[in-house]
């Protein structure tokens, strides 16, 4: 079945430094849809980014990610971390076989310090 790997469980950063959260995936289907969800403390997850197009950068709220099918990756980046970015970030995959069926990674907690 599908799988999503987020290698870092916790990333700690000083405010102002760049952010990079890793996400790789495995699926036998050739047209996956990749998502990044963010979950702040005591809140529900909400969509941050999504992409379907190979090698095209997608951006939202200062974050960006590029789907690279050649390396099965969809890393999340931001040029300068803010304290308010502290949250749990989930990478998720849809292989488009079942509507709305998402496979989530284990999540990466980003902690930004002043």
């Amino acid at each position: 079945g599908d799988s999503v790997t987020q290698t870092e469980g916790l990333v700690t950063l000083t405010e102002g430094l760049p952010v990079m959260l890793n996400c790789t995936y495995q699926t036998i289907y050739s047209n996956p849809f990749l998502f990044w969800y963010v979950q702040h403390l005591n809140e529900s997850p909400r969509l941050l980014l999504k992409s379907f197009t190979d090698n095209k950068r997608t951006e939202h709220q200062g974050f960006h990610a590029t789907l690279h099918k050649s390396s099965s990756s969809f890393h999340l980046q931001k040029s300068s971390a803010q304290l308010s970015d502290s949250a749990l970030y989930y990478c998720a995959l849809s292989d488009q076989q079942v509507v709305g069926q998402l496979t989530f990674g284990r999540g990466t907690r980003l902690q930004v310090y002043a």
């Binding site: 809140e43 999504k50 509507v99 989530f104 284990r106 999540g107």
Partner: protein, 113 residues
């Protein structure tokens, strides 16, 4: 605008007791509905999904069941809770085409003691 409401916000239940969690979606007809579970410190796991009233598909077996009695209502239940059922339960919805955003409710935190 669409809204999703989950109830209760939190529950503390004894092992072996029954459970019923609910979810309603307003402002969207015929949404796709989902139940997700998040164990403490764990990832999001989809439990059930429903494309239409009366039809529910199970994704993972956790001794739970789900029903969709109305177009805008999704119920998660079990007759006997286990300790392993503790966690955060999220109802979610999406539009009826593939790969659109999934919108999550605020969740129910369940503690089984």
């Amino acid at each position: 605008a669409q809204t999703i409401h989950q109830w209760p916000v939190a529950e503390i239940k004894a092992v072996g007791s029954p459970l019923s969690l609910g979810c309603t979606i307003k402002g969207k007809s015929s949404p796709n509905l989902y139940w997700y579970w998040q164990a403490t410190g764990g990832t999001l796991q989809q439990l059930f999904y429903s494309i239409t009233v009366g039809q529910v598909e199970s994704v993972v077996q956790l001794n739970l069941s789900a029903s969709r009695p109305k177009d805008d209502q999704f119920i998660l239940s079990t007759e006997k809770l286990l300790l392993s059922h503790s966690g955060f339960y999220l109802c979610a919805w999406s539009r009826d085409n593939a790969n659109t955003e999934v919108f999550f409710g605020k969740g129910t935190r369940l503690t089984v003691v």
